[in-house]
Subunit: 342 residues, 2 copies
DNA sequence: CTGAAAGCGCTTACAG
DNA sequence: CTGAAAGCGCTTACAG
């Protein structure tokens, strides 16, 4: 009667099976599979053949346990269905894969401040080598202090002051948009903003104000929305009543869609009566009732930069040496902007 | 001089640290952390306190290695930026998390047939307990035979005949849409389809044809698109020239947006001159130039069902006993449909 | 260039 | 109800 015989689930093939078939030791196989150079070409070939014949792939869990690295990046997002988040996610996945990293999704929906913090700290030691935050909803920057050694990068501009970040240059993008309208001859530009507690919304709002001020124009009262088409529609119903409104800069394309419909319903034509500019360049922007002039963000570049920032930290770089990367936006002129009716 | 002293990266706290502090053995800690009942309440409390004080969380890699399960679900998708994929992804993540599973993203962009197969088989043994396929682009059903024991579920209808699936009932959804137009008094209904090699596109196209045929109407020539707003626009330019066209059922909402703009440009009004119905109910559908009547798919339910299907297999159920789950769609009437002009 | 041994942190029978 | 021992599959010094 043997003692201590442990039964364990066999996950599949192990390094030993390959070693046996190739007639070498286990760690020669290890050397081959991890790409070490110190292996005689013939030996390497024999091992590689054996791996192929058996269909061997190394066990990630075992490697992770031994090395202390999971080769996994956590990706924190929230509103997957928004163009910006979705495209950034896609780009992060592609860039991570390129570097041999898997990406694990973390949805922070409904996560309270404290549980968010708890979550982040757990994740750090447990299941991932790094964290990319696209949007962290309710999380305060301080809660991230919990995991001070975790490689991290954000595109959430609320956290951008505290952590390595990759963010579109929304200020310049906004300036170009507002400037464009002024150059067309509009006497002022109205604005439908995003929510007041959103940093990117405030950045765009401030840039709009300052551009007007820079042109000697006192900014009109702004309308406050929440990024949604509905909020654009509701602001639009009121804007449509004001004959002085001839140009509107919207915080994003969805809002612009809502505005466009409200104007349409009120019988005001775009761009003849009112010019509209959005932000983001979502797929449908080009196919709005009137093709939408907008400011494109390069979400692909943002995703790549996020991965780069995070892997630099995995490689040893310190958080505070990394700072913020600003990606340029691109002004896209379509048909929703025109000179005002004289 | 000690021999064989191995240096290893310390990931953090281990079960032993907790055991020491609580004054128990390591596997009593294990029992507590895995929720076993065979622990005296006082002992449990002491252990839990120690875990809290230390901020201990179990090492997933170690557990995975030992148990042979990673508690990770692979999520294969492609066009993250599409409403359907994004919402399904989101729902999968939520449902998986609920069950204690992490979700790893797999983008199959540009993956050739063979590498796809290779990929799937590797993933299976290596890093995930199950695979949820939302869309598998170029992958033929046969390539999945490579991982016959991998728990799997799909919402890609091309694979639905071969693997456990959760799919919206597009046939009924289409019937309702076409029927609605006929009941409004339209003499026929035109159709802009998705690409010919897309199964869901063909399902909708066939249902459209059959509904017309069932009403004794010979289906007009369909226009073939590719799901995009642009293809809707291009078909729309031709449709707009035909005075017999009074109602169009589109394969999806994006296509309907493109069509709407083409009609707009041609001076044909919606719904006065032409009624339009889309499919999906994307966020902007309600805020099209004319609020879009459409067929809503319940992506949330699909995501939940995918996770359920996959976890049943993890629990021992056989693939072939699972079959296909069909989720109902919902007809959403808005302003883009009306009786024809007499 | 190759191999023997130890150990990453956990859980699984088994014994008490 | 609790503990001692073994081992999941891998990699890391170390020795040769």
């Amino acid at each position: 009667m043997t003692t201590g015989a442990t039964s364990t689930r066999r996950t599949g093939l192990s390094i030993k099976d390959v070693a046996r078939l190739a007639g070498v030791s286990a760690q020669t196989v290890s050397r081959v599979s991890s790409g070490s150079t110190n292996v005689r070409p013939e030996t390497r070939e024999r091992v590689e053949l054996a791996m192929q014949q058996l269909g061997y792939t190394p066990n990630r869990a075992a490697r992770a346990l031994r090395v202390g690295q999971t080769h996994t990046i956590g990706l924190m997002a929230h509103r997957f269905e928004r163009t910006g988040e979705a495209l950034t996610m896609k780009s992060v996945v592609a860039a991570a894969e390129q570097e041999g990293y898997a990406v694990t999704l973390i949805d922070v929906v409904g996560t309270s401040e404290s549980s968010w913090a708890q979550r982040a700290s757990r994740l750090s030691e447990q299941a991932m080598d790094a964290l990319v935050i696209i949007r962290a909803e309710g999380a305060a920057p301080e809660s991230l202090a919990i995991a001070p050694t975790l490689p991290i990068a954000v595109s959430d501009s609320r956290l951008a002051g505290y952590l390595p970040a990759a963010i579109a240059d929304q200020t310049t993008g906004t300036q170009e948009a507002v400037q464009h309208l002024l150059e067309l001859g509009h006497r002022t530009v109205h604005h439908i903003s995003g929510p007041v507690d959103s940093v990117p919304a405030q950045v765009r709002s401030t840039a709009w104000q300052q551009t007007l001020a820079g042109a000697g124009i006192r900014p009109p009262q702004q309308f406050v929305g929440d990024w949604s088409a509905r909020s654009g529609y509701e602001s639009g119903r009121r804007l449509a009543l004001d004959p002085d409104v001839s140009a509107v800069f919207c915080c994003n394309d969805e809002t612009a869609f809502g505005l466009m419909r409200a104007l349409h319903e009120a019988g005001r034509r775009v761009p003849d009566d009112v010019s509209i500019i959005g932000f983001d360049d979502i797929g449908l922007a080009e196919f709005a009732a009137v093709p939408l002039t907008t400011v494109r963000q390069d979400f692909h570049a943002i995703g790549e930069e996020l991965v780069r920032l995070v892997l630099m930290q995995v490689g040893g770089a310190e958080r505070h040496t990394l700072g913020r990367t600003t990606l340029p936006t691109q002004f896209v002129q379509r048909a929703s902007t025109a000179p005002p009716r004289s």
